[in-house]
């Protein structure tokens, strides 16, 4: 899609499935130059198109969903009716054009369609395929369908969020899906490295549950070593104190932490009360922990009279780790994210201008980009099947007449 050389130029990808975990992996590859084709059908479009808000202008529509578009920018969108034998045949042709297949359907669905890895790799030995689902392709609960928002509870994230004496807390959306998509993308890239070097493809089975546990590594290691179960502890830290979020002016918050007595002395000085650091209740981390409530009240009294930005700037100038708690609106005005061009506005034919999110990494000499908006449903059928796949006019029209692009 881009005229500027990019790192993954020449990598062709086909995606089956929808929602978050599969499509986000494809989006990252597309942002660095891969040609990614997102396959749906008119009967079963990607669930993120209609099932969840937001919709542009609050008007629901198949091509107006922000939930879909934010994970599918820079891709091509096609529709194939996989219930028809000719649809399967067309999907096979598309896969032959590709280096990589990403799918996140329930285990066994691709095999039943005749699109399992064994069948596909028989005449395409260098093909890489990622299958990602809640539990992985095997095991006693492999067939469990599920939402990432709930899987985040099973993998321990919700239980480790909240006040110690309160209930677990929700994380927004399917948190664990993105742990899986970012780990899965690395596995894909490594498999492509091998495929290019040796001609040998790979089948990658990624359980979103297991992927999530990689982010719980410290707590699991601690349990194995000591039997201790890490529990939710609000914003507390075993070493740093204070360590938390404090209210600021205009209903803002600031996060700050002190990792040594010296840090705390700096904080006390910034707050205009340098003697505080020498007081017996606050002179050491242990003392500060014992007197957490009065300490939090002192810090809050200082932060409340400032904006979060002003407080963070004063603290950073004194060498203390601090940052405003950035809200969803604040993400679009945060000066650091703005400098990185985190949000890149592209015009969608039905949704108008939308800010798409760029990944957290970039290449200095061959930078990635949001190379186009998300596709409309089946919006690239002509380009993909005629120009990329090379279907002759008669073939294309025949598929069309028989409803294969359904």
């Amino acid at each position: 899609m881009s005229g500027v050389p990019q790192a993954l130029d020449g990598v062709n990808v086909v995606e089956f499935g929808g929602y978050a975990a599969g499509p986000h992996a494809g989006k990252v590859l597309a942002n660095f130059g891969a040609k990614v084709v997102h396959v749906e059908s008119r009967d079963r479009p990607d669930g993120f198109r209609l099932q969840y808000p937001p919709f542009a202008g609050n008007r629901p529509g198949i091509n107006r969903g922000g939930c879909f578009s934010i994970f599918n920018d820079s891709k091509y969108g096609v529709t194939i009716d996989l219930k028809k034998a000719e649809g399967i045949e067309l999907a096979r042709r598309l896969i032959r054009w590709s280096d990589l297949v990403i799918e996140n359907m329930r285990p066994g669905v691709m095999e039943r369609l005749g699109l399992g890895y064994e069948a596909l790799s028989a005449d395409q030995p260098g093909l890489v395929m990622l299958s990602t689902c809640n539990m992985g392709q095997t095991g006693p609960r492999a067939d469990t369908p599920g939402f990432g928002s709930q899987l985040s509870a099973l993998a321990g994230f919700c239980g480790m969020t909240g006040q110690p004496d309160g209930p677990p807390m929700l994380l927004y959306g399917p948190y664990i899906d993105y742990v899986a998509s970012t780990l899965g993308t690395s596995a894909i890239l490594a498999a492509l490295v091998r495929s290019r070097r040796s001609g040998k493809g790979a089948y990658l089975d990624l359980s979103q549950y297991e992927a999530g546990l990689m982010f719980m590594g410290g707590a699991l290691q601690d349990y194995f070593a000591t039997g201790r179960e890490t529990d939710r502890c609000a914003n507390d830290d075993p070493d740093a104190v204070p360590h938390g979020a404090y209210p600021c002016r205009d209903e803002e918050w600031i996060a700050l932490s002190c990792w040594s007595d010296r840090d705390f002395a700096s904080l006390a000085a910034v707050m205009g009360n340098p003697k505080l650091a020498a007081e017996k209740d606050f002179a050491t981390a242990a003392a500060r922990r014992r007197h957490k409530q009065p300490l939090d009240e002192i810090v809050s009294a200082w932060t409340r009279s400032r904006t979060a930005d002003a407080a963070a700037e004063a603290l950073q100038a004194a060498g203390i780790a601090a940052y405003p708690v950035v809200s969803m609106a604040g993400l679009f005005s945060d000066p650091q994210l703005a400098a990185r061009k985190q949000w890149r506005v592209r015009r969608h034919p039905e949704m108008g201008d939308q800010a798409y999110s760029f990944p957290g990494f970039d290449l200095t000499e061959t930078p990635g980009d949001i190379v186009g908006p998300a596709p409309c449903l089946g919006g690239d059928n002509e380009f993909v099947f005629r120009d990329l796949l090379g279907l002759a006019d008669a073939e294309f029209e025949a598929y069309k007449d028989r409803g294969v692009f359904g």
Partner: protein
């Protein structure tokens, strides 16, 4: 393995540990350079530095320059985490990028290398705040929260690994290497899922929802997400739609089999149930008998029954629940291996490749042989 013959030099602090581990799990030979005296006993160090070999060498000691030179001459990827404001030194990314044209340099920092706050100090707490995640966790009228187990380091790690391999694939194709830069703040943004799109598209401002689901009912009702049970908490929501219908019907069937009091649940036609139209009184009436029922069952019972009945919902696991989960056991996710702590168990490889989970090769803290850097430069197998 996928990354056979790929050598990675990992000089990172906590922001880069997972990146090195991901590359190691995918088959790269990862050498972790740590200054002498590094505390390797902490669970986090061991969890995220397993499968690497360790070289004790102080980067600031000029005597180590030739050892580093031997390794860098042969390396494919180098991971660095300079401190805020740090420039120069033996692992200066720009200098190494110039000196070693085939080396993929990956620089991981809290806020990236450009921008007005590039030199700001931050730990997990501040990065989770800066990336927007804290604003979305906690009670609606309470303090913003982070997840108690640090996450932002891992978000930076997964993004660094993706960047490293994107650049490696490009180098293989074109012969041109690159310098990859990673911002932990920016890496956290994906954890917000589609929440930012609410503001961008319509000016709406989603915020933290606590332990309840809001925004589903046009009458402002909130739905319970977390339910106390006999030995902890469960995650269950009265959803609508096809999946919700099956789940709700199965819950009622299960309650009936157990002789539980059904209350209003006995009278609801789940095919017509529309959670968007219920007010709080109606939602409370739904939830009261379910609450009483859940209070009497265990997390493991719920896990088994929900699977058997194809219900949506999971228990809220503790780490103790996770390590005994039959699904995790059946897939052999955890790996016990000999090493410096005998019998130590780790999270195993995160992906199955061609039906097999590649075993971890090195226990945490396994030292690199003294003569290995020299042998590597000479192109010989140590």
């Amino acid at each position: 393995m996928l990354l056979t013959d790929v050598l990675v030099i990992d000089t990172t602090n906590r922001f880069g540990w997972l990146a090195g581990r991901i590359l190691a799990d995918l088959g790269a030979d990862v050498v972790k350079i740590d200054p002498p005296g590094t505390d390797r006993s902490k669970p986090e160090w061991r969890a995220f530095n397993v499968n690497k070999r360790v070289l004790d060498a102080d980067p600031s000691d000029a005597a180590n320059a030739s050892v580093f030179g031997d390794l860098l001459a042969k390396a494919d990827i180098c991971l660095v985490t300079p401190a805020p404001g740090e420039r120069g030194g033996p692992f200066d990314p720009d200098a190494l990028h110039k000196a070693y044209p085939r080396l993929v340099m990956v620089v991981i920092t809290p806020f990236g290398r450009e921008g007005p706050r590039r030199d700001w100090r931050a730990t997990d707490l501040e990065v989770m705040a800066a990336g927007g995640a804290m604003s979305m966790a906690g009670e609606p009228d309470g303090v913003p929260l982070r997840i108690s187990e640090p996450q932002s380091y891992s978000w930076a790690g997964t993004h660094a690994a993706m960047g490293a391999l994107t650049a490696l694939l490009q180098r293989d194709a074109t012969g041109r290497s690159d310098l990859v830069e990673v911002s932990a703040q920016s890496s956290v943004v994906i954890a917000l899922s589609h929440a930012p799109a609410f503001f961008d598209l319509n000016g709406d401002k989603p915020t933290r929802a606590g332990a309840f689901m809001t925004g589903r009912s046009i009458k402002g009702a909130r739905y319970r997400v977390f339910w106390p049970c006999r030995d902890g908490w469960l995650n269950f929501i009265f959803y609508g739609g096809v999946a919700g219908r099956r789940t709700n019907e199965q819950l009622v069937a299960w309650m009936r089999e157990r002789g539980a009091e059904l209350g209003i649940l006995a009278t609801i036609d789940w095919a017509r149930f529309d959670p968007t139209k219920a007010d709080q009184t109606e939602v409370d009436a739904l939830e009261t008998p379910a609450m009483k029922f859940f209070a009497g069952i265990t997390k493991r019972e719920y896990l088994i029954e929900a699977h058997k009945r194809e219900m949506l919902g999971y228990p809220v696991s503790t780490v103790g629940d996770i390590v005994t989960d039959p699904q995790i056991e059946a897939r052999g996710f955890f790996q016990k291996m000999a090493g410096s702590n005998p019998g130590e168990t780790y999270c195993g490889n995160f992906v199955l490749i061609d039906g097999e989970r590649p075993p971890l090769r090195y226990a945490a803290g396994t030292p690199l042989a003294d003569d290995e850097p020299k042998l590597l430069r000479a192109g010989r197998q140590p």
